[in-house]
Amino acid sequence: MSDITIRAENLSKRYNIATAKYRHDTLCEQLADSLKSVFLRKGRSHLAERTFWALKDVSFEVRQGEIVGIIGQNGAGKSTLLKVISQITVPTNGRAEIFGRVGSLLEVGTGFHPELTGRENIYLNGAIIGMKKEEIRRRFSAIVGFAEVGEFLDVPVKRYSSGMYVRLGFAVAAHLEPEILLVDEVLSVGDAAFQKKCLDKIGDAAREGRTVLLISHNMTAVNSLCKRVLWVNGGRIVEDGPAAQIVTRYLATSVKGMDLSEEVWDDVNEAPGNDMVRLHRVRLRRQDGCLSDPLTMQTPFQVEVEYWNLVANAHLHTTLHLYTAEGIIAFTTCNLNDRPLAAGLYRNVCFFPGDLLNSGPHRFVVLVVKDASSVIYSHESRVSFDIFDVRERQGVWYGKEPGVVQPVLEWKTEYLGGEGS
């Protein structure tokens, strides 16, 4: 068992949210209000501010060399937790003990001055994040190499592209080498190659026995980098355990709130459609019937379309156009139906196998086609679904793969003889 590096006991942080009416933004207003309360004897009760607990009784321990992911919705208290641990803000209650030098990376390039050159900013930023002058001098060439700013080293950073700016900022931070590294969502900046570099560096830190606390919304990265995850919600730690397990549970709850999985119209006269066809239901379901679990890239699911056919002996097909978040049609698919349909309610089910779609949000358009040629009704469904990528990957690339689909195809390798070279 290795040593404890962070021990937090009942950490709580209360914020006062003064409503606009009572807020004193200027000294004059404050004085006026104080005078009023003295003379009118109203006391300060009407000034009572609403309070809210950004953190409430958070307790946990982290041992040396652990990489702990912190996940949760926006506003759950993740950043507040890191700010308390990194001493930026003082807790209202509770206590935390830190064993070792802390480096916090809540932002890339903190304290960069636009007028100063890259070289000058390396020294300035290094000093601000807690490096000694001697340390910066020693690692200077390594930092410059990592940042890939080359001939721009002596140019003011205000002339840098945003990519160069971020690279330089991370390069300095990456060479801080603290015993405990606190990282907040820096993985969301920069291009793909840069993100990979950042993540590799975090992986290295852990191999060297450093402790890392990492806030991220990139579940693939969390799953691959962290063994353990703290799930924060409403200022409390709701789950603390193995990464894969907690991430899956977290995604399940976040999906429920966000996605619509069914549209139903019960009244045939009110339902969308026309005098030939009216929709009854559009529904998305996992094929294993598990309702609460999130859709991952591996999950087979099905889309069901139910409609009333109002014209006897119509030749109807159902077509789905599947859209990605970027508005690109990933593909279209239709049922091949030759028989004429009697009037009545029908259900068409389309089965999507796992290992087909890429990750990300999706939606679709339902088309009803007559005689395999004319679209008689088109419905832009409000049913939407997010497909998550939770594959565990080793030190390669944690971001989204390019492409609208991500099918798993069969490959083979054949030896064709020869010695090579």
Partner: protein, 281 residues
């Protein structure tokens, strides 16, 4: 055995709500002295990088003020200058005064202007007003060179009193910091402090012996007058630079005590307020 080892291990940092009013933890300022150095270095570089005239600008400003003072107070109003040529008399006071007004303006807005640092990184917040109070010393140095030229022009030789100048420079920095600690912390909460400072610094100059000598102040008001901390600083500078008869010790003592009291109170107040900086800023 593991357990025993763990119990004896001392945490390098304990995070908890600060309780005592006087838990000041000033040693951390010393630990972060390199960062202080870099903050001052940044301020100085940026100041001289952005201006076309560079150092010249620093000299021109007090020179013009001195010329105006000479014209209005020296020639028109015929204000006495203790037997020293009026331009030198005025400039020797403008030296600490320009420094003070500049340092005060900078340190008052320093914490607010550093909000990107305050909300993203830990370091002793005292470094921010401290750096802002120290960096204008570079400007002071350039004006000092101008004063030497001016003194040579009027045939005034420096005296041994010059050796005491660092002492009064220290007092000037302490005064700027003492006031800056209060105003910078107040400014985080109330943004109109910035406007007040502009006004205050104008009034303050006329309440200080910049354009006129202390000897013009009626004796019965002297004690009240010396409560102004800049009185001690300016009198000290004049004495050290021009070597006129030694300053009124009573006045210097009162003035310096006010500086010390302001500084001590400022540190306590700043440390109390700094806990909420990241939340309020």
């Amino acid at each position: 055995m593991d357990l025993a080892a763990e119990n004896t291990r001392k945490p390098s940092v304990v995070i908890q709500p600060r309780k005592g009013l006087f838990q000041l933890d000033l040693t951390s300022v010393w630990q972060y002295r390199e960062m202080l150095y870099f903050l001052v270095w940044r301020d100085v570089i940026v100041r001289y990088k952005q201006t076309a005239l560079g150092a010249a600008w620093v000299i021109v400003q007090p020179l013009i003020t001195m010329l105006i003072f000479t014209l209005i107070f020296g020639n028109f109003a015929k204000i006495p200058s203790d037997g020293i040529p009026y331009p030198v008399f005025a400039f020797s006071a403008l030296l600490p005064w320009s420094y003070f007004s500049q340092a005060l303006a900078k340190s008052s807005s320093s914490v607010v202007n550093s909000s990107n640092l305050v909300t993203k990184i830990y370091f002793p917040r005292l470094l921010i007003p401290l750096a802002a109070s120290v960096s204008p010393v570079v400007d002071l140095f350039f004006s000092f060179l101008v004063l030497l030229v001016l003194m040579a022009w009027f045939n005034i030789a420096p005296t041994w009193g010059l050796l005491a100048l660092p002492l009064f420079l220290g007092l000037a920095i302490m005064t700027a910091l003492a006031v800056g600690l209060w105003t910078s912390a107040l400014n985080v909460r109330y943004r109109d402090v910035g406007n007040i400072i502009l006004f205050l610094s104008q009034v303050w100059m006329y309440a200080s012996p910049v354009a006129y000598p202390v000897s013009m102040v009626p004796v019965k008001w002297r004690l009240l007058y010396s409560l102004n901390p800049m009185v001690g600083v300016i009198e000290g500078f004049r004495w050290a630079l021009l070597g006129k008869e030694s300053p009124d010790y009573m006045l210097m003592a009162v003035s310096s005590s006010v500086v010390l009291a302001l500084l001590a109170g400022g540190i306590v107040y700043f440390k109390r307020m700094e806990q909420t900086f990241a939340d309020v800023i």
